[in-house]
């Protein structure tokens, strides 16, 4: 799970945010990737565009959205960001609404983030871990869960 921790750079974690739309939550997830030096601001727009084109399939599990675009010139380094929402938001997902957690993902290519995805999968597979993440109000505490 430590690879999830190291993928979440400084500035990438935004807890208990008030958002009113999927777009706002994507903007925050994108800002987290930018602030931690993993992407250029243009990647945020690419994530939003991807959602507009393909819709809420990015809501991959109950309450959890994986915001991402393609590997592109806007990605500087593979990384994650994490946004938890004070009030869950409807994304229009058939089975997994409302969303309480948005994970931003940037990958430099199609292969080098595979270990990270395996670690992320292990983490999110545990309802107990997800609940801990969702309830966290302090970044230091959340990071201690991940270490």
């Amino acid at each position: 799970m430590s690879s999830v921790l190291s993928a979440l750079g400084e500035g990438s974690i935004k807890l208990q945010q008030s958002c009113t739309s999927w777009r706002e939550s994507f903007e925050l997830a994108g800002a987290g990737l930018v602030e931690s030096g993993r992407t250029l601001p243009s990647y945020t727009q690419e994530m939003i565009q991807a959602f507009e084109e393909l819709g809420p399939y990015m809501v991959i599990a109950p309450g959890i959205a994986l915001a991402h675009g393609r590997p592109s010139a806007s990605v500087l380094e593979t990384g994650l960001s994490l946004v938890t929402l004070l009030t869950p938001i409807e994304f229009g997902s058939q089975s997994n609404d409302p969303v309480s957690m948005v994970i931003g993902l940037a990958a430099i290519d199609h292969d080098s983030h595979i270990d990270l995805m395996a670690a992320l999968s292990e983490l999110l597979m545990s309802e107990e871990q997800v609940t801990l993440l969702l309830n966290a109000t302090k970044e230091a505490v959340l990071r201690s869960y991940l270490s």
Partner: protein, 90 residues
């Protein structure tokens, strides 16, 4: 057996689906190759796939492809993946 896991961008959902499908298939003792792809790549290279794994919202974009489409609601739910793969393999 060839299985294609498909999502919009080819780096997120499809990778998670591939990993979790591999876990399930190994536990079931089924020898299968699972490839992750985005929609464009899936349409180009997906010929010959026995099963296409994806999420509900993308099913409509993959209709007409050869192979059975299996739609997974919750990509971390190994029980759901196992049940739906089993049904598709019967």
């Amino acid at each position: 057996m060839k299985i294609l896991s498909v999502c919009g961008m080819g780096i997120g959902t499809s990778v998670l689906l591939k990993m979790n499908a591999e876990k399930v298939l190994e536990a079931m003792g089924i020898d299968a190759e699972v490839l992750a792809a985005d929609i464009t790549k899936a349409k180009r290279d997906g010929v010959g796939a026995d099963i296409i794994l994806t999420t509900p919202e993308l099913v409509v974009l993959l209709e007409g492809m050869p192979g059975k489409i299996v739609s997974i609601d919750h990509v971390f739910d190994l029980t759901e993946i196992r049940q739906k793969l089993t049904a598709a393999l019967l």
